[in-house]
């Protein structure tokens, strides 16, 4: 803890802080500004003293603050297991503060590629999952047959017509009834 502060320190004693102060990226802010998400009860002086004591960051005279109301969301809340789609709720508002820094700060560079995070795989998996959900969903009868399925059916028909394979009833449920007396 620094003993000499260039400003008048607050006298609120905070021994065990149980809240989050999040540094937020804002592409439009110049390097001598930083934006934070703070608890809703935070004041500008609280943030100034907190940054000074916990992070040794000196903050210029100007701090801007606003409270951002959340959009309403479907469901009763985020913590329940089964979402209730007919109920709506509004998540809590968040407080954002933009401080002027005494020393400029530039965020570290973005990662060049996201192979460590499996971004490509996650994207492919989510696309496949979405496709599967569509094929199993309510509108599955209205969906057009996929091109892949069409080409395979064409190959099959061609092979049948050329006599390369013999048609047999399939072993699925439809075919079971035909052959059940032969067993």
């Amino acid at each position: 803890m620094a003993t000499q502060a260039p400003f008048r320190l607050g006298r609120k004693e905070l021994h065990l802080p149980n809240f989050l102060v999040i540094l937020k990226y804002s592409s439009w802010l110049p390097a001598n500004y930083a934006s934070f998400i703070v608890p809703i009860w935070f004041s500008k002086l609280d943030l100034r003293d907190y940054l000074y004591h916990a992070y040794n960051v000196r903050v210029g005279p100007s701090i801007r603050s606003y409270v951002k109301q959340s959009r309403i969301q479907q469901g009763k809340g985020t913590r329940i297991i089964r979402p209730q789609y007919k109920r709506w709720h509004r998540p809590r508002a968040t407080k954002h503060m933009t401080v002027e820094l005494e020393r400029p700060f530039v965020w570290p560079a973005e990662p060049a590629d996201y192979t460590d995070w499996n971004k490509e795989e996650v994207k492919m998996a989510s696309e496949q999952q979405e496709e599967f959900n569509e094929s199993q969903g309510r509108a599955k009868d209205a969906l057009a047959v996929s091109n892949e399925h069409r080409s395979k059916m064409r190959e099959q028909a061609k092979a049948l017509l050329e006599g390369k394979v013999q048609w047999r009833p399939s072993a699925s449920k439809g075919g079971m009834g035909l052959r059940m007396y032969e067993r």
């Binding site: 021994h15 065990l16 802080p17 149980n18 989050l20 102060v21 999040i22 540094l23 937020k24 990226y25 390097a31 930083a34 998400i37 940054l51 916990a54 992070y55 040794n56 960051v57 820094l101 020393r103 400029p104 700060f105 530039v106 965020w107 570290p108 560079a109 973005e110 990662p111 996201y114 460590d116 995070w117 499996n118 971004k119 996650v122 994207k123 989510s126």
Partner: protein, 266 residues
Amino acid sequence: MHCTSASLLRSALHITPCRTAAVVPPSFLLPAFALTQTSPFSSTAPASARKDHNRNRGVSALHRTGIGKKQHLSVKLEDLPKPVLDPKRRSDIEVDPDHGLYAFFPDGNEGDRIMTPEEYAAHGRGWRIQELRAKDWEDLWRLWWVCSKERNKIATLEMERKRLAGNGQMYGDVEAGTRDKQVRVTMRNIKVVLTERWYAWENARQAAMEDPEVDLSADPGKGEQAYLPGKGEGLLDNSSANEGITEPGQGLPPPVNALPMSEARA
């Protein structure tokens, strides 16, 4: 048909039975009886108010009226510095290597912006209650602040990761969650230990208040004895019915300080 409030009121006032009201209407109705309007309806200032010989009257930078023909500025348009619109051509900003805001990032210095799932998962378990019981208040307090700043860091990195990738478009959710959970386990156990100590302190204080051998009002700084052995022996002999049982702590020498330092600080 022309109908005003004054005409309506006039007829209404004439048929009132009270004679005095017909002669003198109440004061709040007086504006309705005014025959001529003294102020004009329009609130715009008259044209004469604008003739103040100000050349810059009506010139606005916001509304793009431009400068007038007779206006001369100290700077020409060609001399104005031009903004660098391309971010790549801008000069680099020097950041101090020990800037405090780097504590919100994985390495604590100018390294990566976000953590990989492997880096997230590189952690052990949280502190347990048995381990924390051996620590004094200063240690617990420091550990709490370390945990609090670690939670700030995780929340910052998660928000940035979701901003870069889109929510649910990259791995790392689960790893960040388990890391954060271990930190919260530590913080919860610190609170458990501190609560235990508070109850131990309170129980000891109440026991000392009932004990005649302990003088809680004594000031050790002035050389006064807080523990006075044998002061209330007569009382103890009368009250203790089971003399055959020996307490395990009776054979030990009396403690120098009735309360250990760590609890005194907590």
